[in-house]
Symmetry: C2
Subunit: 343 residues, 2 copies
Amino acid sequence: TLAAPAIAQSAPEVKWRCTSSFPKSLDTIYGAAEYVAKRVEAATDGKFQIRVFAAGEIVPGLQAVDAVQAGTVELCHTANYYYVGKDPTFAFDTAVPFGLNTRQQMAWMYQGGGMELMREFFKDYNCVNFPCGHTGAQMGGWFRKEIKTPADLNGLKMRIGGFAGQVLQKLGAVPQQIAGGDIYPALEKGTIDAAEWVGPYDDEKLGFQKVAQYYYYPGWWEGGAQLSMMANSTAWENLPKAYKQIFESACADGNNYMLARYDALNPTALRRLVANGAQLRPFPKEVLEACLKAANELYAETTAKNAKFKKVFDEWKKFREEEYLWFRVAEQTFDNFIFNAKV
Amino acid sequence: TLAAPAIAQSAPEVKWRCTSSFPKSLDTIYGAAEYVAKRVEAATDGKFQIRVFAAGEIVPGLQAVDAVQAGTVELCHTANYYYVGKDPTFAFDTAVPFGLNTRQQMAWMYQGGGMELMREFFKDYNCVNFPCGHTGAQMGGWFRKEIKTPADLNGLKMRIGGFAGQVLQKLGAVPQQIAGGDIYPALEKGTIDAAEWVGPYDDEKLGFQKVAQYYYYPGWWEGGAQLSMMANSTAWENLPKAYKQIFESACADGNNYMLARYDALNPTALRRLVANGAQLRPFPKEVLEACLKAANELYAETTAKNAKFKKVFDEWKKFREEEYLWFRVAEQTFDNFIFNAKV
């Protein structure tokens, strides 16, 4: 065969499939993957094409990483804490109870050693991770009864997954795994007493305030939830250098895009929810403290039996301590004054 | 002449010069421009090259936008509030007193209508703006004496610029414009009583704690300071579509990079400053309230006499109100609990 000219070799046609863990109805999250795909395509004059598929079109949402690991698809867009059943270490890539807020998670990933730790961990799954999207601090969810003391969590049947469910279990709650579309009827029938989803913009679409009026905050199990693009290692290595760079910057761009969308859309959704009957309630401090104590017990148990988890946790914990120290100063005092001031 | 092949036309060699408003010693800010330049170069296989020059190498730091407007350079990296002397409307692109925090500024720019408003405004300066870098909430600066009441600001000679200086003037302070390198001797000699710079990581390099030990927070005049790339409109329009896309994503990427660097570097710098004698002090609430009142007076005066400012301010103010409403809920309660918890 004839050698292609040098310029063509450096810009080959590449087609990737990206399986999202989310339905198209979660337009902020699903949309972040499409946003990245469009930007990569535009940046390569259409030569590097990424086609995004909603959860279930190729594989179910919770098998996205498996599909990338097996090479069924080159890419997925997911929340890695979905895979804590494989290994709880996955959760550091998204959110863990009483963890980092959004800014702090970004700082950890981009400049605090988090990316290196997670990349090393994901090697075992044949994946390379790229932060791509944030929800901000989530809400604590919808409750049919008020939560006034930690004892009110005892026996509570709540739709909540992963690590957070394990923390609540220590306080007597009964965590349930229920798909998004099934939450409303379960709350309506009383099969469950409470359910967490995301935040005002996404929650509003499912109409929870009609069947569980108490809307609690904050979602202490995800003070900032990061989404990730997960590329198959071989597919990634085969990309030309320029495409790698374009993809990386598009993911960072997608990070801001998704977060900005939530931050711009949540306020008016919250106003509408309250106008339609949602009763806003902060978790009492005593409840947060009991949950923190349970979370710390879970961390101690998990680090004792899982060396990979311990390796990430120990570094992450040091970083978290430093971040809290600094954020207490300029950032927190600015926010606390201004959010409540008469401007 | 012969027509170049189509593929070569779509990837022409482009060389831009970027004049930074900052010295290389501010490695986080100056470095953000270099970071973008490197990523653009890598994404185009070296075909689109941006060479970054420190302040003073081509034009002085505070004339960066003028150089872009005149077409002397294609690009600058700057803080647009430096140009409030041309028009105070410039300040919305960076920070205004008691304005948006970092997340909220990003939400306003990317999804809240801020980008459109600022692009329209910057047309008169022959510039197209791209958010590129954040410092996070800045510190309130270094004071030789404690500030206990608003009266303590009366007669205070402080190194502080732009809009913030005008607010302090209403409380009797005497704002001074002094270049970075001249602040230390001015504080040492007592020519000035106080000076604001950035935050722990940058302030530490200048050694202020040796001559003004009280380190106040927060910097209410920049609860989040955004840096921007400003491209000459004609140079921008002449870029191939793919290069435009690559540049835009690289700037968004640079936004995260710079913010993450500050968030990762500030905590240990703050620890060292305190170990070396800095006395941390929050501005008393009474002082913040007096400054907010003065800022609101200044906004009223400025909107009354400047239609461009009023146009942006009115939209921005509505957005700010909505953001504060929402951030008071999940985000603030998560932060307030966790930053002070025993983790």
